[in-house]
Amino acid sequence: MGLGALAAGGCGSSCAGSRARPTAQTTIVAPKTEAARVAPPVGKPRVVVVRTCKALTSGYDADRGALRAMLEAGLLALSGEKDAVRALGRYVRASERVGMKINGLAARNAATHVELVDELSALLAKLGVEPRRQIAFDRFKRDLIASKFALAPRGDGYQCIGNDEAGHEDELAQMPSSASRLSRVLTRQVDGVINLPILKQHSLSGMTGALKNNFGCIHNPNKMHLDNCDPYIAEVNAIPAIRDKQRLVVMDALRPVVENGPSYQPGSAEVANALLFATDPVAVDTVALGILEDLRKQRNLPPLDQVDMRPTYLSTASKLGLGVSDRNGIEVVSLEV
């Protein structure tokens, strides 16, 4: 499926941005040769921001058709492939067991949209990853339930597992500043992980994104919130099992929590209608931080660093070699569908 076809599957003709098109600052991903499709530009990590005008139907519910279009457009732009299934195949193999790390802590109103995970699951199935080899997971089964994920597989649906059910490894993963036991879902039940964070302002770390979402892969995130979560977020992401299994980030920024986060309170979220795609978790968080700050500015809220919430962990993560935290060193591709 090409970019043009995606537009029709998304907003339809009533939407002004009904065609996948670049915005003013866009770097267009338009591979013209086979070689270009195989290898995205070397050097700068790419972050794709896909927006639509109709991702949300009412309240927090999302339109699956719109999400499907956004998902496919994002994968195509990120990978340089012409077909969404092949694009996804750049990051996971058909033979693998795939984990989908969601964030359900704040429950339905501020959790990764189940509709997004459903659509990703369907695409994985088309790739050949049967639903029984797909696992959506997070810290507690109660959070999965509260976020409307079904714990028991629905027919041919993917599995949803809380780390409290699956348990954690007895052996410790050692870090310079702490030590953690890893989720057995991560270590034993999946070969690769697609990280599906939700974008939120966070009163301690500054923001919740791809890097912080991996706190849900360890048994003791409660020990990691001192000092703006720095260096803990970075060190957790440098644990080999977490770093090496993460293949792709699809960030849910449809309705980010922009103030009083990370828990949801009425009025704390703002509609942004965006999904972000990247393989570099530091780069995607850096771009997401810009989106968060813009949304806060619209509400006349101060920048995070003025309220002692600067996400300093981004530069720490960059120093650990986990990705790029310099905005000028990131290729941002913006699309509307």
Partner: protein, 371 residues
């Protein structure tokens, strides 16, 4: 069968005896992964929205709805703060009181020892990290309300001891159990890192008979770097305890190259003498490689001996070495006549010459709780 942490069963020799003979005590057991019961927590206040601030320890965690504090065992649910460990110990053992170590608190007696998951520190050298650094769901636990704990202690003619992890994080359970114990004529003791706020500590002290505090280091740098905590609040807690009249003993785990420098030890001993008194026993114990410090060798005996010498030189009257059975420094000598009044080897008593709280040789009143 009592419920023990996976590794915890081997923490004590007493555990086997209890497991074999504690039929009537059998608590209901839940395996790791089970959902713990939630009970209203005390010592917290509401903030804006559904946020709350915990007042149990100096971290004063500001906890979001559906989140937990640093300790991992207290949770905000819809603006109400709950404890997930009240009455739900993950370790239950009968230990010699010397293991705590208490050397001046009913020597030779037993301690009915309980712990829940959780801690408000994270010491890199923690010996019990598998329960202290765990959430309630991570470990097996049982339902054991206060009266059942007291019944168990009476069965062994033991005091109740809150220990192994950090009792401050299960303080409501400690207070309720110690209250019930006092009513039943059973004594209660606590083994703690001492990192608590004054108000809850004072409430607990009303019902406790003895406290052993781990004074883990004597610099802010050590507490921050090695324990994710602070020294100053511990010093304040120690002063609160000293004023309360509850029997107090101190332990300093000597971690090679980290907190065993002579200036630090000397300064600590001086402070103890000046602020807590010369009769507070101070135990210098051997570090064993654990948790995040498996690459550090055990404390050399010479270090422990030197620390003990410093303690004596600074005017402390009861300074001990520990975790090295047979090393000089385990016996208690009478400060008046100099004779050994309590002879020990490891956790075993080899001689007891304190009668009715007095030295059998010269009649000197020995500081401590002896009967």
């Amino acid at each position: 069968m009592t419920v023990l942490s996976r590794r915890g069963f081997f923490l004590t020799c007493g555990g086997c005896a209890l497991a074999a003979s504690a039929g009537p005590l059998l608590p209901r057991r839940a395996l790791a992964g089970a959902t713990p019961r939630a009970f209203p927590a005390r010592f917290w206040k509401k903030l804006e929205g559904k946020r709350i601030e915990c007042g149990l320890c100096p971290k004063r965690c500001k906890v979001e709805d559906r989140e937990r504090g640093f300790c991992g065992v207290r949770e905000n649910r819809d603006g109400e703060y709950l404890t997930l460990v009240w009455g739900q110990p993950c370790a239950v053992h009968v230990d010699p009181i010397e293991k705590k170590p208490f050397f001046h608190f009913r020597p030779g007696s037993q301690a009915f020892s309980i712990a829940t998951a959780g801690c408000n520190l994270e010491c890199k050298c923690c010996q019990n990290w598998d329960i202290s650094q765990a959430k309630p769901e991570d470990v097996d636990f049982s339902y054991m309300p206060p009266d059942e704990v007291v019944r168990g202690a009476k069965q062994y003619d033991a005091c109740v001891t809150f220990t192994y992890s950090e009792p401050i994080v299960f303080l409501e359970y400690c207070i309720d159990t110690a209250k019930a114990a006092r009513k039943a004529g059973v004594r209660s003791t606590m083994v703690t890192g001492g990192s608590g706020e004054a108000e809850p500590m004072k409430e607990a002290l009303k019902y406790l008979d003895g406290i052993k505090v781990d004074l883990k280091g004597f610099t802010e740098d050590y507490y921050q770097r090695m324990c994710k905590g602070k020294l100053e609040p511990v010093k304040k807690t120690l002063e609160v305890i000293a004023k309360s009249g509850v029997w107090l003993e101190l332990v300093h785990l000597c971690v090679p190259g980290q907190n065993d420098g002579e200036p630090e030890i000397r300064s600590m001993c001086r402070w103890v003498k000046e602020h807590l008194g010369r009769d507070v026993p101070l135990h210098f114990t051997r570090f064993h490689p654990e948790y995040q410090m498996k690459n550090v060798p055990p404390t050399p005996n010479a270090t422990l001996i030197r620390c003990r010498e410093i303690g004596h030189a600074e005017g402390l009257r009861f300074v001990y070495t520990g975790n090295v059975p047979g090393l000089a420094g385990e016996d208690t000598s009478c400060p008046s006549c100099g004779k050994v009044v309590v002879a020990r080897r490891g956790f075993e008593l080899e001689g007891m010459h304190v009668k009715n709280g007095r030295c059998e040789y010269c009649g000197y009143t020995m500081p401590g709780v002896w009967s």
